[in-house]
């Protein structure tokens, strides 16, 4: 069930009421585990059982790692956890991709091979909960946290429904202590949760789903549309991706707050980043920090020679691209971002040796230019990300840069521009960080009217056909 569906509202209302009316903390944990299982099982109960089984395995492995005295045994046990979790991820998500790629390579080389086609259902959110499980066992192995003794607490960490299917990727050392603490009714926290949830709902329904109406027909058949339409659709998809994913994260964080749990911030105005490095510190923060801690740094990070750092960046971000999906488009997305990061490192070093240039870039105009360039680079990378195949992505980029005629976007554009202006205004307010002061200075009835209007607009503006969240497919 989607967060913006009536079924979810009823489900969450029931869980919320039961959670806070129960006087015993242990029962609350059981309730949340049961509700989270039900939430996932509403998609597919067999896959929900698989998550439970792997969580049980990680529970046993972590306890074993903690009790082992020899490093070799610890490593072996960690290896078991990695093999099972990554093995399932590989099987469900990447097996057909590699088989298809191998088949194509063999056919290109003139050989034929009848390779199997696996009939698998991709479990929703597998990339997210796999990384959370790995984070837990790796941190226990590194001695950064003790193994969890209570299996229900570990189940809740993995299955907690607000973050289960599309993040944020939660760290065990941040979440598990919260599970152990008794929760009290905290009205300011509930208030904060409602604000987050409402903001996320508005971003998803009123902005992301609306912009999808303009982007989808163009990305579905880019060869039919003219250059202007392609650029407009690219802008629409960039804002759609941000509002869809950050909207989901806001709803997840809000729902968690309402149940007394805190999830980490996942987006920090990434579209206002002044460089691609800064972008990845603000976009999908939970993923980029996970990759930094468990891939980039173990590879050597930025210690050692520069070329080594660039290699590590390349590997990390290629894996980042692959994390998103099992197609060459996603691999290309990751490679493009790694090259942009490497390019930024080189440019930063270049500017470091030229103080005047650096000073110009730090001025208002220079900062605006850097933001615009970063936005443009990200938007263009999303063309590859969004199109069905690498070939159609390249076609679309060609048509964007070589002016060509074609169909216009088949919708009146006033709705498009209003939505873009709303997003821009929202960013301008949030960037100034004064919006909180402004909001809290308004009289209470006006604030209440604002929330009511936002909720009404989210319902009214949501397009007819409900859309799943983009990141559900990862």
């Amino acid at each position: 069930m989607l967060f913006c569906s009536k079924q979810f509202f009823l489900f969450f209302a029931a869980v919320f009421v039961l959670h806070w009316t129960m006087p015993w903390h242990r029962l609350r944990v059981v309730l949340l585990v049961a509700a989270s299982f039900y939430f996932y099982a509403s998609w597919n109960k067999w896959l929900a059982l698989i998550i439970c089984a792997t969580t049980c395995m990680d529970y046993v492995v972590a306890l074993g790692i903690e009790r082992c005295r020899t490093p070799l045994h610890k490593k072996l046990l960690l290896g078991v956890s990695l093999a099972v979790n990554l093995g399932l991820l590989f099987y469900f998500k990447y097996a057909n991709f590699f088989l298809d790629s191998l088949r194509e390579a063999l056919e290109a080389a003139g050989a034929s091979a009848s390779l199997p086609v696996l009939q698998v259902i991709l479990p929703i959110g597998i990339s997210f909960y796999t990384f959370e499980a790995l984070n837990y066992t790796i941190d226990v192995y590194r001695g950064r946290m003790p193994a969890e003794r209570n299996i229900l607490h570990l189940m809740l960490f993995i299955l907690f429904f607000p973050h289960l299917v599309a993040g944020p990727i939660v760290r065990a050392k941040d979440f598990l202590p919260q599970v152990g603490r008794r929760k009290r009714r905290d009205w300011p926290r509930f208030h904060l949760g409602v604000q987050f949830f409402l903001r996320g709902l508005f971003k998803k329904l009123a902005i992301a789903d609306r912009l999808a109406l303009y982007a989808d027909p163009v990305f579905g058949d880019p060869g039919q549309f003219g250059t202007t339409s392609l650029w407009l659709a690219t802008l629409a998809y960039t804002l759609q991706a941000y509002c869809d994913f950050s909207g989901y994260s806001d709803m997840a964080i809000g729902a968690a707050h309402m149940l007394g749990y805190k999830l980490a911030q996942n987006f920090n105005l990434p579209l206002l980043s002044t460089s691609i490095s800064e972008f990845w510190r603000r976009w999908h923060i939970s993923l980029s920090s996970w990759l930094r801690d468990y891939v980039f740094i173990p590879l050597g990070g930025s210690r050692g020679a520069r070329w080594r750092t660039y290699c590590n960046l390349f590997i990390t971000f290629t894996l980042c691209g692959m994390w998103h999906g099992a197609t060459w488009s996603f691999v290309a997305f990751g490679v493009i971002h790694s090259l942009m990061l490497i390019g930024h490192h080189l440019f930063r070093d270049y500017c470091g040796r030229r103080p005047r240039l650096d000073a110009v870039l730090q001025t208002g105009t220079g900062t605006a230019l850097r933001i615009a360039l970063t936005f443009l680079c990200f938007a263009l990378s999303l063309v590859i990300f969004r199109t069905q195949t690498l070939a159609s992505g390249v076609t679309m980029l060609e048509r964007m840069f070589w002016p060509c005629d074609g169909k216009p976007i088949p919708l009146y554009m006033h709705g498009y521009w209003i939505t873009v202006v709303v997003v821009a205004l929202g960013h301008a307010l949030a960037a100034g960080e004064r919006w909180k002061d402004l909001v809290y200075r308004l009289p209470v009835p006006v604030r209440g009217l604002g929330y009511a209007t936002m909720f009404t607009l989210a319902i009214v503006l949501a397009p007819a056909a409900g859309r799943a969240f983009i990141y559900f497919q990862f």
Partner: protein, 358 residues
């Protein structure tokens, strides 16, 4: 502690104000939709009415022939072609087919049209026999009802004609308590947020409505698509074809519609629209007999012609064995003009006879 209490009180006040404002917004929308924004409440009807009134203003003294029916009429009758053909006879033909309309809603819409000053000279009333079968807890037309698109007085008027009046009332109440959710598509259309350059809500399989109320299906249908659509029709209609028991309420609605036309001096004909052979195969002998009996009784009692066009169009002209494709509409319209419309328009009206008992 004091600050915490203040924060909690402020938040509670904010929450209550938000609820109150939300309720106020819904109330304001509900009142507006009920009283002034009929194009949000029932946009299809308003669009049809506006086009009809525009055509009437172009030919103010023309004889008006109105064809009232469901989506079968909406897709199946090229009223513009008929109007062009009958131009010399100063006759305007208008297609007033609307999706999901059966005998009860036909009565409601006729009353609306009369209240709006539209007085047809001739009224062709679509009759679909399966809508008069009470084989389930409610008839098929009641499944299609959308109480939210009716006004308060219309819901009250329609209650005696419903086997489940509470269901209708519930739909109406939901539409007035949560108009932002129930009417969100219509509100967006009202603000032209989803409209495309050719005036269509995006995406749509239906083409643009023409000036005479005909709204064709846009594209041709492949055999696979036709088969899937026909299977869907079977699933939708099959439960209503089990046995036949005359549904008194829709029959009463049709009777009252004929009575109203008689009272207003509107000449009426009953029109059974074309159906494909797969659809006709669903009829049981009992249903055929029962429906024929009802239609012939009403036709005879009110002395209104009955035009049975079920077999007029070949199967290849149907999208899903009961909705016509554009070439099917052309074929039906041609035959309708020759075999029904022209002869009836040329016939002299017979003197009114005594109305039969209810």
């Amino acid at each position: 502690m004091f600050r915490r209490v203040t924060i909690i009180r402020t938040w509670r006040a904010e929450f209550l104000w938000a609820l109150a404002c939300f309720a106020a917004i819904q109330l304001a929308l509900a009142v507006a939709i009920e009283r002034w924004l009929q194009d949000v409440r029932d946009p299809e009807y308003v669009e049809k009415l506006e086009r009809l009134q525009a055509r009437q203003s172009e030919t103010p003294h023309a004889r008006l022939v109105l064809v009232l029916g469901s989506s079968r009429t909406l897709l199946g009758l090229e009223a513009g072609r008929l109007s062009e053909s009958l131009k010399d006879e100063n006759t305007l033909v208008f297609n007033f087919g609307l999706k999901g309309v059966g005998p009860r809603l036909q009565l409601v819409y006729l009353r609306r049209l009369l209240a709006a000053g539209v007085q047809p000279d001739w009224l062709f009333v679509e009759v679909i026999p399966v809508l008069f079968n009470h084989s389930a807890e409610r008839t098929l037309e009641e499944d299609w009802f959308n109480g939210a698109r009716l006004g308060r007085t219309e819901v009250r008027f329609l209650r005696p004609y419903c086997s489940q009046p509470l269901r209708l009332m519930r739909q109406w109440w939901l539409g007035r308590c949560l108009p932002c959710s129930i009417h969100h598509e219509e509100l967006r259309d009202f603000l032209a947020l989803d409209a495309s350059e050719d005036g269509l809500a995006y995406p749509s399989a239906m083409g643009k409505m023409d000036d005479y109320g005909w709204q064709p299906v846009v594209s041709t249908v492949s055999p696979d698509q036709r088969q899937r659509s026909t299977e869907l029709t079977h699933r939708q209609y099959a439960p209503s074809f089990r046995g036949f028991e005359l549904a008194a309420r829709p029959a009463q609605a049709l009777y009252d519609l004929l009575k109203l036309c008689r009272a207003r001096g509107i000449r009426v004909a009953l029109l059974v629209p074309p159906e494909g052979s797969e659809f006709r195969a669903l009829y049981t002998p009992a249903m055929n007999a029962g429906a024929d009996r009802l239609l012939k009784t009403l036709s005879k009692s009110f002395e209104v012609p009955l035009i049975d066009a079920r077999t007029w169009v070949p199967d290849s002209c149907f999208w899903d064995s009961h909705h016509l494709l554009p070439d099917g509409a052309a074929a039906f319209t041609t035959r309708f003009e020759c075999e029904a419309l022209r002869p009836l328009l040329q016939a002299k009206p017979s003197p009114p006879c005594e109305l039969p008992a209810d």
